[in-house]
Symmetry: C2
Subunit: 320 residues, 2 copies
């Protein structure tokens, strides 16, 4: 009745932007991501009859704010197993900073894996990814390591993740933390507003699926430049749909643009690196893992007091 | 056979982005602008039989690079007047810096007006705006002062400017020169690439016409906040279409974003001001003219060594 799991964060190369079903977290488009080694969450779940309410500890401190969301998530497993026990959940986030670094992806993937084991439900990884999805859309992809596709599907059972590639061909990411503040608008709210008000959103689902198709070919051919180029362009298109929202949603900060300029400068010098950016100001650079430290050194010239992390691909969820 | 004219630059509040006819400079959408007092061009045109080639002086220096474009433009008048004389053209640009400040708008409007007079063609302002359009799309709007609409029309004769409002109700602009360098990609090239490659461009012509309709109502009602809000949103939507281009076109620089953040900060403090941005990094702030200096003072905290210009609405083209 007790299990502990570790799951890693992931950064989308083809972005997930927009839900077709709010309740089930079904996405408007399939997406693709790289699981990252440096950022992960460890969660222990223990079902017991000795308590009447779930208890949730985050980084050693009881967290009552998130509890109802966690309890609702655990209910999915309790219903599947026809069990009633409450749980003690202990989570440690090994994500350097909270803002915009997909801690909800690693968080719900680890919680799903630990609960799956502790409850004795023991579904396979594919089905586990549908559970993770219910907690947070991007958590779907954190069930697997390397490069992962989240196939949008048409219902709860068919919207799951699949492993595409183990990313063991010199692929990494450099993450620049340009701002640690909580983001002004959550992805959830940003997506909703974009769908409802942006004249450009209607082209996003189809267009991002073209990007997905192309990037999968590039990955198959191990064409890193093409893969990076599609990544960068796809991120800018997602942000374009947001700029069209009413009121406009803009996550660009001066420092975000500076990172982009440095990426282009490095590329002009022949170093293949490409930026991507999510619903927050921090910029992630897709690069050759072997060139990560060199890219970090260049960034440090302009980002002396900032946190810069170089990381390779991470593994899928593990019971530990 | 000799005349001199002065024309002022204008900044679009509803952007012109995309041509439907490259040769005639017919636009995909109607646009709306504010003519600015601080930036203008003076041009003298003298037709004479004593020379065999047009001669063009820009700011006192003979300019052979632009000559063929100018000569072709003068041919429109020569053909209309059935005349053969060559011309001496002397232009002085009173635009603080060249990059992205619409000097081609004031330039071709002044040239059109001076040539119109010197050639004896003497068409009225509306028709004159169709001549200016052939030189540079945005020059169409610089024929008039205050707030001007360029109606896209369906052919050479119907694509002209009309005056909408004299903007005498405490309206001004603050222009921050964040970068004086020549822009990397001209508007002309940017428009072409956006039309051909951006999945979002197809929504632009219709969407911008909705914005135009709304801003005209706001102007009629002298609803400055609404006018500014539509201005800011329309600019971001134009840039969104560019971010979707392949390769992406991004004119944002770190300093451009900083100006936008300061505009939002001022607005949060109750000062109605709104940014707009064209195919270059410089940001223009639409504000109450009476608050222009105060806004400039706030900007100077972050832009000490930068040029910041406060200006009111400018007049239409004049023979001087």
């Amino acid at each position: 009745m007790k299990a502990k799991a570790r799951a890693h964060a992931n950064i989308a190369l083809i972005k997930y932007w927009g839900k077709s079903d709010e309740n089930l977290s079904l996405p408007m488009n399939s997406s693709l991501s790289l699981t990252l080694d440096a950022f992960y969450t460890e969660t222990e779940v223990e079902f017991t009859n000795s308590i009447n309410e779930d208890v949730f500890f985050l980084n050693g401190v009881e967290d009552k704010n998130t509890l109802s969301k966690i309890s609702k998530f655990l209910d999915l497993f309790r219903i599947a197993r026809n069990m009633n026990e409450r749980a003690i959940i202990k989570t440690i986030n090994y994500v350097p900073t909270a803002a915009g670094l997909a801690s909800s992806a690693s968080g719900f993937a680890a919680l799903a894996a630990a609960t799956n084991k502790a409850s004795g439900l023991d579904v396979n990884s594919r089905e586990l990814s549908t559970f993770a999805r219910r907690g947070s859309g991007s958590a779907t992809r954190s069930i697997y390591g390397g490069i992962v596709e989240w196939q949008k599907g048409i219902n709860d059972k068919t919207s799951f993740a699949v492993e595409i590639d183990d990313a063991s061909w010199d692929i990494g990411m450099v993450v620049v933390i340009v701002n640690r503040e909580e983001k002004k608008m959550s992805s959830r709210e940003g997506m909703k507003s974009t769908i409802l008000t942006s004249p450009f959103y209607k082209n996003w689902p189809e267009d991002s699926q073209k990007d997905l198709k192309e990037i999968k070919i590039a990955i198959k051919e191990k064409d890193f430049e093409k893969m990076g180029y599609i990544t960068e362009r796809n991120a800018l298109k997602m942000h374009a749909t947001m700029l069209g929202a009413n009121p406009p949603i803009m996550y660009f900060e001066p420092k975000s643009i500076l990172v982009m300029q440095i990426v282009h400068e490095l590329r002009d010098k022949g170093i293949p690196c490409f930026f991507t950016m999510d619903a927050g100001p921090n910029v992630k650079i897709l690069c050759r893992l072997s060139q990560g430290e060199m890219i970090k050194n260049r960034l440090m010239e302009d980002f002396k007091e900032y946190e810069i992390i170089v990381t390779g691909p991470g593994p899928g969820v593990e019971i530990i």
